[in-house]
Amino acid sequence: MARPAEIVCDALVIGGGAAGVSAAVELARAGLRVELAEQRASLGGAYHRQPSGTTATTSARGRRQWLRLTAGLAHFAIAPRLRHVFLGVDTDGLGLLDDREAGRVRTVRARALVVATGAVERILPRPGWQLDGVMTAGGLQMLLKETGEAPPGEILVAGNGPLNIALAADLVRLGRPPVALVEAGDPAKNLGAALRIATFPGLIGEAARHLARTGFAGTPWLRGATVTAIERDGARLAVSIEDRRGGSRRIHGDMVALHDGIRPNDFGLPAVSIGEPIVVRAGDCREVLGIRGAEADGIAAAREVMALLSGTALHRVAPEVSRQRRAQALLAELFRPVREHDGLRHLPDETVLCRCEGRTVGELRAMLAGPDPIGLREVKLNGRFGMGVCQGRFCADAVGEIALAARPDLAAGPLSRDRWPVRPVSIAALAAPDESRGE
């Protein structure tokens, strides 16, 4: 049934970072009518986003890339729809955008969608991770970018991966070195990976600069160590840290920034589809490749859309994408946690798992331990895991992992189906008269 839509175009691109802008420009270059939707008030994505009125902290290469991409938008007169949050695709095949400026949901009839919603941080559950004063390292980094200063108090940075080092360096730059940088991996010992990664000059250069800055500020870099618990201790937080030999120590701080790597921001998004509306993904949302892979992958996604629209299948080949894939694999090896991943078996039962609904690891294990072999959807509905405001965005992976550890026979599958709205949306916006309905 073809319901009328408010916006009609050939391709709707979701996400105004490097991958989305590059896809939009490439599609326009091919003569397609393109709409570009960005949830924030400005384009740029995680990498190119800058606080207004400041000079960029990105590299000269990054600035050149962004100038090139935005020039493309201007050349093809693509006016991005800012503050438009993508809600999903409905059963009539309509793309839904929550226009936060106008306070209404707009429907889009597009022959193809390019989803380029970037990456999100992976945060592993830990006892105390739900406490006030605990935030994600990426969230804190964004706060630093947007306000130009660090929040008050002592900050501990913990988890896994290069972003934590970058955050520590940013804090040093602002004169507020973290009390400790706790890293599950041991990149200093992983020489093989470090040497091979040197063939990707951009990556190693940045990391080395960050490390030098952090080291000179006297921040202890605890490698092969993990945060096992965060507890409130008066007005402060007490962080328990275990080293690779099982020794433990406690460090106090006012704020804890956690980060365990990044993953595609694909939660609840419509599945990739070769039938109309065609759905393809681009950039970190498809595969985490970082900023250097994003532009190339956006172009590849656009070409894939054009091929599908003309009825031919196209094998996506982009040399830069392959190169960045190798770089990411090396980074992962460099930062590989010293301890084997144990499917979250180590988590104590009282650990809060679903923060929206306050459900714990123990409650999940108890549900799975019964004689009736219940499945994941039953766990979700009856245990309320992933039933809160975030609909599982922050706990679905951990719920799946703990469930599988407890019951290896469970059929692996998503905790949630891809349904719209993928984000909470104001009822007023959904109920607003739809101009296309003639109301």
């Binding site: 009539d92 004689p371 009736d372 009856n382 405001v389 609909q391 349904r419 009822i427 007023a428 739809d434």
Partner: protein
């Protein structure tokens, strides 16, 4: 077959609320039950229902009688502890927004009162005091007491856990095999082989059509619903579920202007125990479980018109379920003619949560060789011509 029942075996097909209840009551009677489910418990209509345990929307007749008994059983099982914490007792408040709705509501209230339902009319100041969140244009409210709400998948889980019967998941029953004489069902056929038993109960919702040869009589009726974020104060301001009179019209299959597509809109705003609101629903002649912006937008526009403060909340989830409707609007409950050991309970359309436990108990009586405790003659499976029953 009557007499000794201990140790007799029953296959129940379908782990929705009706099959789960049947399993529970049969187990209590000492039957050995195998509960065979095509996918997972409460995975169809029972898991996507609005949860109304309600008489308010029924017309006098067999369905109203059954609904009254259904609510009584919920209260009984709550007292016994089986439904502890799962049944929320609350009134249903039916509201009329214009002249024709007032007329229809007054008539309906009179019919409900005539059947002995406790209710009261609310107008003017009394209406504003009782329902402070309801829009000023609402003309008349009728508060129907002694109703309730239960979440289908929670009831299903409770029944199954209490029965101690493991659910045989992902195991569609593809057919029923008769014995040589053709007088009894010998086995239920699954991919894992034929499952023999003394008795068979088909409670498979829409999946019952093929097994019972009733495809002509059964049809899917999709309903879309929306869940909001928590808003405990606003939810507490509603004494019970708010039901637009349009719901009655929707049930009567009167089509809204411009909806030639077989899509009708009812409107129920239900404050849940969690402080969230459940807002439903559509009645559509289709069997997919997706949501479309048009339907969700219209539903929510209606909800905001009735209760303006809802506009400030966010919707966190939309979902849809497919009810199984029967051509004449009545479910199918009873022994299937031609077979002495085959029983059916399906086709409750939007009333499965209210009637499921009751009908499960009734079927368990039939299987046990007793007479039903309720007049189920109007629901007799034999009232339709059947095709292709039993392999």
């Amino acid at each position: 077959m009557a007499g000794i029942i201990g140790g007799k075996s029953v296959v129940v097909v379908g782990a929705g609320i009706v099959g789960a209840a049947t399993t529970y009551f049969l187990s209590k009677r000492g039957f050995h039950v195998r509960l065979i489910e095509a996918s997972a418990p409460a995975s169809a209509a029972s898991g996507a229902a609005d949860g109304a345990v309600s008489v308010a929307s029924k017309r006098p007749g067999p369905m109203m009688t059954a609904a009254l008994r259904g609510i009584a059983l919920y209260r009984e099982l709550e007292r016994e502890g089986l439904f502890a914490g799962l049944f929320k007792s609350r009134p249903t408040v039916m509201v009329a927004e214009n002249d024709s709705e007032v007329e229809s509501l007054l008539g309906h209230a009179a019919a409900l009162a005539g059947e002995g339902m406790r209710l009261r009319h609310l107008e003017g100041d009394a209406l504003r005091r009782r329902l402070p969140g309801v829009a000023p244009h609402v003309r008349l409210a009728v508060e129907v007491f002694d109703e309730g709400h239960a979440i289908g998948y929670e009831i299903v889980r409770r029944f199954i856990a209490a029965s101690g019967v493991p659910v045989e998941r992902d195991s569609p029953v593809t057919g029923l095999a008769a014995n040589d004489a053709g007088t009894s069902v010998a086995a239920a056929l699954t991919a894992g082989g034929a499952v023999e038993a003394d008795h068979f109960v088909v409670a498979a919702g829409g999946g019952s059509a093929a097994l019972l040869g009733l495809s002509e009589a059964m049809r899917p009726r999709k309903g879309q619903l929306v869940v909001t974020e928590r808003a405990p104060a606003l939810a507490a301001s509603l004494p019970g579920s708010l039901m637009s009179c349009r719901y009655l019209l929707s049930k009567d299959a009167i089509r809204t202007a411009g909806e030639a597509s077989g899509r009708r809109f009812g409107l129920v705003i239900d404050p849940l125990r969690t402080g969230q609101f459940l807002i439903g629903g559509t009645r559509e002649d289709r069997d997919d479980t997706g949501n479309d912006h048009d339907a969700v937008g219209r539903l929510l526009a209606g909800a905001v018109r009735l209760m303006p403060a809802l506009a400030r909340l966010r919707a966190i989830r939309a979902f849809a379920g497919v009810r199984t409707a029967i051509r004449d609007g009545l479910p199918i409950v009873g022994r299937v003619p031609g077979f002495d050991n085959l029983f059916a309970a399906a086709g409750f359309e939007g009333d499965g949560i209210c009637l499921g436990p009751l009908m499960g108990r009734e079927v368990s009586r039939l299987v046990g060789g007793e007479a039903a405790d309720l007049d189920i003659a109007p629901f007799a499976p034999g009232r339709f011509e059947r095709r292709n029953l039993v392999a």
